[in-house]
Amino acid sequence: MGIKTGMNRIILHTLLCVAASLWFLAGTPAVSGADLALRSQLLWGTDQEKPRESTYKEVDPKVKGKLSRIFKWKHYFEINQQKVTLEANDTKRLKLSAKCEIDVRFLDAHTLEIKLYGEGKWTKTIRQSVAALNRGELAVLAGDDKDKYGDAWFVVLSADRP
């Protein structure tokens, strides 16, 4: 009798604790600390001047400055730019051109996985520190331009900060 009453009390208190926790959780907004606003840019590095008919614009000075101190090209034209907010357990595909796409997703709270697709084929996978992006670093995938000798393409990923 005594044991049964004690067990009933424990079960009752457990249910009360669970109910209180559910009530608390229901009133708490979902934590979205892993969300990341990303900016991806497809750039064309060239020594040529911008073609007259082209609508391309020079990439922003900050990115151009970083690239110019490493690479030889005079101009870095922005072909496309896309912004996306990446959430945990979420994979986003960004089509930067007819030939260039990337998949981005969180591997964990600290690491991004970026898959590069060239002409529809999975070409390369890299992993990127989220903390480095949040510090303002750039993650760049690049290669020679097949169509224009001496030119190059760049996929630049950065944290999109206002």
Binding site: D108, H110, T125, A139
Partner: protein, 156 residues
């Protein structure tokens, strides 16, 4: 013999009738064999009950026996033994078990998030993982001063 007559004979056997009625019934029993048979049967039954009933004798005198019962009724009730006093904070201890169960459940559910939270950060800002195509090679270089990591992809 009807029921009324039988009751009258029973009262006569038990000596409960007044004297004129007593004499009438006595005369009736003498002349009527059925009434005599009933009276005889009733006498036998009475004697059987008297002799067969067990007698109980109290171990003490009647006065003492009843006075003991009287004292017991009159005396105040003896107090019930008290339950041991609950230790201080017993009400708090009642919550420990369910709270412990809940905390364990929460810990199990939050383990993946905690693992991510306290996982060591990746050592490098960026690293290559795989190149699925055979005709693709790559070179990674990093500029600490510029805060930039470049993976240069070469198509053969």
């Amino acid at each position: 013999m009807n029921h009324e007559a039988a009751l009258r004979i029973q009262a006569w056997v038990d000596g409960e009738l007044p004297s004129p009625a007593d004499r009438e019934v006595a005369a009736w029993v003498e002349r009527d064999p059925d009434a005599a048979a009933l009276a005889t049967e009733l006498r036998h039954a009475r004697s059987a009950l008297r002799e067969g009933e067990p007698e109980y004798s109290a171990p003490v005198s009647r006065e003492f026996y009843w006075s003991a019962i009287e004292r017991r009724i009159a005396s105040p009730r003896t107090p019930q033994p008290q339950a041991p006093a609950a230790p201080p904070f017993a009400w708090l201890a009642r919550w420990f078990v369910p709270a412990g169960i809940l905390a364990a459940l929460a810990l199990v559910l939050m383990l993946p998030a905690l693992r991510d939270q306290f996982a060591p950060p990746v050592k490098r800002a960026s690293e290559e993982v795989e190149s699925p195509l055979d005709d693709i090679s790559s070179v990674t270089f990093r500029s600490e001063s510029e805060g930039i990591t470049v993976v240069w992809v070469n198509a053969r």
